[in-house]
Symmetry: C2
Subunit: 500 residues, 2 copies
């Protein structure tokens, strides 16, 4: 066949059987890039497939496959009886022989983000809540991961999936695995005196998602919510990023100040609290205060969000039963999590609501957010709890954590007193280390971080009601030796009085 | 010891060693309930622990433990030298001898929900998007779960966790596992010509979460977004529930109508499209249209959300490369998922963004939403892909699904023509079955559901640009026999012409 005048050869095309890519993809890519780079222009005619086959000593079929794909994608058009041409509708798109790629100079156009949300997001989310968390003293709220019986967990993964119905690989109900909700309901009734059945439990992808659901369903932009001051930053981030306004309520040694609430707080849509173990100061709300709180919520028609994040970790006496179990009015939304009891990267938490219409709303919102939780994790956890592993692990961890708390207190008293003062706590995962009154705890915290010691400043959790300077000192994940090294370093830095 | 006049006995208390509950908990519960039920009144004095011990023939220590817990929780108060009393601050809280529990008559107070969000939620979320999805003909978008090599998946779960660093059980980076992002980046470059590295990928808990992130970060309440009409309901739900307004753009047989977009659509913040395989009509946007679209987006400063949900499932020719890979301006946000390739209840999807500042915003928002994805699932998937199982499974499924599509078309042509007309499709998971023009496809769909046949009406996906009546017929998860039975039933119902 004689070459047509307009018909071009393909000098740029390189085809080799030595490459791992199939030949037809080599041809497809070569022609496609030539078009995008302007080496082939609109309406250029391509050589017949037979000629390319002969040129490269390959099967014609290979070339036809490449052409067909390019026709399909619209790079080429076939004209009956005339041959194959580069499409006329592709402009000289890519200049300077550049392979398509993101131009480096693309300007940042912030105005194209949702300004309200992104501004609040930046304000409320700290980098440490996004990044991998270092497990170094005295990072708080980390269970002792070395002591987690991972082999038992893997056994539950195996056993729960052994007789899996393949349908369970498909979309499951957004409320979460019924088997898991059943064991959680049993666990909550016995351990936390929560008044619930499986029907009122909604499985979430962590407490942060529970809070995010609550934020959307219960708070409109501009609404007020009550929160302990100092209080949990994750709750503030969820509620405030949606545009609700915090009303800080001070805390006493026995948790949220209910008298203040009754006298000073007019009306909030919801109140977020940690009654069994106030975060971060550690108080436990006594039952008389709980009852007063429930009456206040009834009168005010206020939702109470009870975050019961670590109440199982009580070292003396029985854990204080939940607030939810005392509430006859259905105003309490109860939050629980397995991040502190098992391991954080599992991502299973739950909320308990009091009425059927609330269940429906929360489940529908959960489906909108991410359809459902990972299924295998859920049935594995159900098996793990059903076999009693959770309770046994908890019992071991209570003993270990109490020992570690005692060790930390002893080490601090020996090495860091009077620069740092701690009080014994009957529960939880951290101690509050009080600093000399003239120090700025944030400055101290930053300086300690420079020396590899993580100790969050109490004032980071404060909104309005100032506290004396203090550091949060997690102890659950660290050996005596790790803690001693860190305390000695800390004592040295504090003694040098660089902040005085 | 002589009983004090005010001192009461505890006739209601029942303690038995035969019960599985520890004795101290039996005593604790008995006294607690008596206080809450009003059987013990404020300031009542309790008998000394020794007396109870003697009465029940148990150790005094057991009684002391129960008293201490009740003191701790505030039910009792100890007065030095005087004894133990019921707290004066607990009002007669529970009437009628009722155990605390949710009163059934609690009124529904809808006004206490966030009205804007809940109203839109109800409007946009269908019950079927919340419930367990039945895997029956012709439910769409379900992979053949029987054919998923679950034993290989479990092997990857085992192997990826064998040498797990325990730190990985703690909080990991919100962007997702680096190992998983690496293999996804490799997969996308080779299979989808996506222009990316692992740094620009964000792991999410399913495409629904990807859309939910986009909604928050890119759309303000009242903003306009463009969407294919007919188009994917999950995207409309995510964007509209946050209060943004859809601008419906018609689709042709080759995907979204770019000419219409250029002429008729003034300004939208973002445009959601499925260019490789339009959902639900199945068109593939040719490259000339893709380039025009990218130029339009650049001029208008509009984000394009490319949902590439099933483009790997192409049965003829190479899959059309992604739109993202052609975009030199960084306006395309690419969405991918493993729900269609592996199994839906896994809950792993991802998005690819073009700039570092966007990565930061998306990752921060992901951390706010739910901190991170389940970690074990992520490393298991990385192992599974790394070993080539995903690609091999895909190749098998392409063959199986093509066969099933052919079977469905053949069965319909044999049994249901001319009541139902289908055209061959070169990709995807469903066929569009066109009905006689006078029928109402929603009515047909409802009636079929009454006979156990799931076939969603095309008009459910329509916002404004009406389509002829049709049903979506998924075929990927069903045997020839299942499909034949369902088609015969369907043909019978259609022939009976109950909707004529």
């Amino acid at each position: 066949m004689k070459r047509n005048a307009k018909q071009i050869s393909l000098p740029f095309l390189q085809v080799s059987k030595a490459l791992s890519e199939p030949l037809y993809i080599q041809i497809y890519n070569g022609i496609r890039q030539a078009i995008l780079q302007g080496k082939l222009k609109a309406n250029d005619q391509l050589p017949p497939s037979r000629m390319i086959a002969t040129d490269f000593g390959i099967s014609r079929n290979v070339v036809t496959m490449a052409y067909e794909q390019l026709l399909l994608e619209g790079y080429l058009i076939g004209k009956t009886g005339a041959g194959t041409f580069v499409s006329g509708t592709i402009p000289g798109f890519i200049k300077n022989n550049e392979i398509p790629g993101i131009k480096k100079e693309v300007r940042t156009h912030l105005k194209r983000f949702a300004w309200h949300f992104t501004a609040l997001l930046e304000q409320h989310m700290l980098p440490r809540n996004v990044e991998t968390e270092e497990v170094t003293p005295f990072q708080t709220s980390i269970p002792s991961l070395q002591d987690f019986p991972f082999h038992l967990w893997m056994k539950s993964v195996q056993e729960s999936t052994r007789y899996l119905n393949v349908k369970q690989l498909g979309y499951q109900h957004a409320q979460g695995s019924a088997a898991l909700r059943e064991v959680i309901a049993g666990y909550l009734r016995v351990n936390r005196a929560v008044n619930c059945t499986a029907d009122y439990i909604i499985i979430t992808n962590g407490t942060q998602q529970s809070l995010w659901l609550i934020a959307h369903l219960l708070l409109d932009r501009g609404d007020y919510y009550g929160i302990e001051d100092p209080g949990y930053l994750g709750a503030r981030a969820a509620f405030s990023t949606l545009g609700a306004q915090p009303v800080p309520v001070p805390v006493t040694r026995a948790g949220i100040d209910v008298a203040y609430l009754e006298k000073k707080v007019k009306s909030v849509r919801l109140l977020y609290i940690t009654p069994s173990h106030q975060y971060p100061l550690g108080g436990t709300l006594p039952v008389s205060q709980r009852i007063a709180l429930l009456e206040w919520a009834r009168k005010k028609e206020t939702w109470i969000v009870e975050d019961d994040y670590d109440s199982e970790l009580r070292y003396e006496g029985k854990p204080m039963p939940s607030l939810q179990g005392l509430d006859p009015y259905g105003n309490v939304i109860y939050l629980g999590t397995f991040s502190k009891l098992l391991f954080p990267s599992l991502r299973i938490a739950y909320l308990v609501v009091a009425r059927r219409d609330m269940v429906e709303k929360f489940v529908t919102a959960k489906a909108l957010f991410d359809r459902q939780n990972s299924f295998i994790d859920q049935i594995s956890l159900a098996d793990f709890m059903d076999k009693g592993h959770l309770n046994r692990h908890l019992q071991r961890m209570r003993i270990l954590y109490k020992k570690r708390q005692d060790e930390l207190a002893e080490i601090i008293n020996q090495w860091a007193y009077p620069f740092l003062k701690v009080h014994h706590s009957d529960s939880g995962m951290h101690l509050v280390g009080w600093l000399a009154a003239h120090l700025d705890d944030r400055q101290v915290s930053v300086r300690l971080q420079q020396h590899g010691i993580t100790a969050t400043a109490l004032s980071e959790y404060v909104l309005q009601h100032r506290q004396p300077p203090a550091l949060l000192l997690g102890y659950t994940a660290y050996s005596r030796k790790q803690m001693q090294t860190a305390v000695q370093k800390m004592a040295q830095l504090l003694a040098n009085n660089k902040w005085g």
